[in-house]
Amino acid sequence: MSRHGYKYSAGRLLRHGLTRDAWPRMWRRPERRDSYDVVIIGGGLHGLATAYYLAQNHGITNVAVVDKGYIGGGGSGRNTAIVRSNYLTPEGVAFYDRSLHLYNTMATDLNLNVMLSRRGHLTLAHTDSALRTMNWRAEVNKLLDIDSAVIGPAEVKRLTPSLDVSPDTRYPILGALYHPPGGIVRHDAVVWGYARAADHLGVHLLQETEVFDIICDGGDGPDGKGSGGRVTGVRTSYGDIGSPVVVNCTAGWASLISNMAGVPLAITTHPLQAAVTEPCKVFLPTVVVSGSLHVYVSQTDRGELVFGASVDPVGSYRVNGTLEFTEELAGHVLELMPGISKMRLMRQWSGLCDMTPDYSPIMGYTSVEGYLVDVGWGTYGFKAGPVAGETMAETIATGRAADLIAPFTIDRFTAGDLVGEKGAAAVGH
């Protein structure tokens, strides 16, 4: 038995391959307790990472992660798995860079291959103003020791030969922001790795348990909710669970949960769509993003091209694919890579994104004692999962917001102190 239960290794793989013995389940189905020290709502990457670091770094193990569906059924199982730290604000860059460090050692830390591939990330500029924003980002990045630079069309072509960099296209490629450490990861493996490790440290993963209400006391709103009150537990589809600390990690559903505590959020929920092609020979060595064309693409280890875009313009909780998305996507991708016009799309899907006005998250304590938020992850929260978990756990354990998340406080909106990341996060990834 290793730190995280049944140890995965090459030897085990060989033995299971030869004997055909079933692998043990990755986590238990625990007996529910009536109360916990911490209840985390949302079994996506953020909730699971928070639980893991509470147990691993702070020894707080009487913790439940509750999810109305299954582990990783939200955005954490639907994203396009791009990781990078070349953001625009110093606050954002420092935060996301810590996450990349955690991704670097994750496979060893969690004893699960998360297939991290730091293959390089290119954000194309098709206009002078885009190039200006790239230069701005590159300078902020360099100042904070992030590997990031603006390169010209020839260098873009050298790195990614399938791109059309000729000057006579409709949206000529004038240059790109090149971020060598950016890349992709296997998103399911990351989620399962944290779930398995948290479970092994004693955390209860309660799936198919929907939270209907947050039970509060002493607040200035109806039923003791709202400012000045405190949390005593949650009401779920399996009855009440007591807890002095309740953490909202529900991403696209964050407003619905927060309204249950009487804490309104600066969030609107938008669907974000993605699509994947049939597999083909590996030809795309980098992750390619185009802000002006609202599209990004990477190639998986299986050879499929994964495409993403910007959020649907109309806010909604409905996750269905639209023809508008596919049409626009195909048109824009072919502008960049005319050579793939014969490839077939295999699947298209959608997930919910919790968009904030400044494209930065909302993290930490709120006006209700014991109610914390880790929300506002929009289209960019997967890469942030590890650092969000680490800093939320520290915040809960020490009773004060971790330094890295202090700029992302919920009060920044009414204080007029926004952290504008739109220049680096408007295309969803």
């Binding site: 309104p264 600066a266 109309v314």
Partner: protein, 82 residues
Amino acid sequence: MIVVPCPNCGPRNSSDLRNAGEVVARPDPATTSLTEWRSYLYLRENPAGWVTETWYCRSGCRRYFTIERNTSTNEIRESESS
């Protein structure tokens, strides 16, 4: 596709219009506090269900109007207040 009934132009694809979000009561700028004003600017109920919202007929008559939409199904009905 979401079909939005503009009171002037009739049913249009939502991509012809701009969704300006849920209707929020605007405080009087002359008497409001900064906190109240910023709450009006940023905080939203963001419900899953029926919501009264504003649309802008961007490539049609350029009128602003309100309708009710169910954000769980995208079903639309005329608003009492429009």
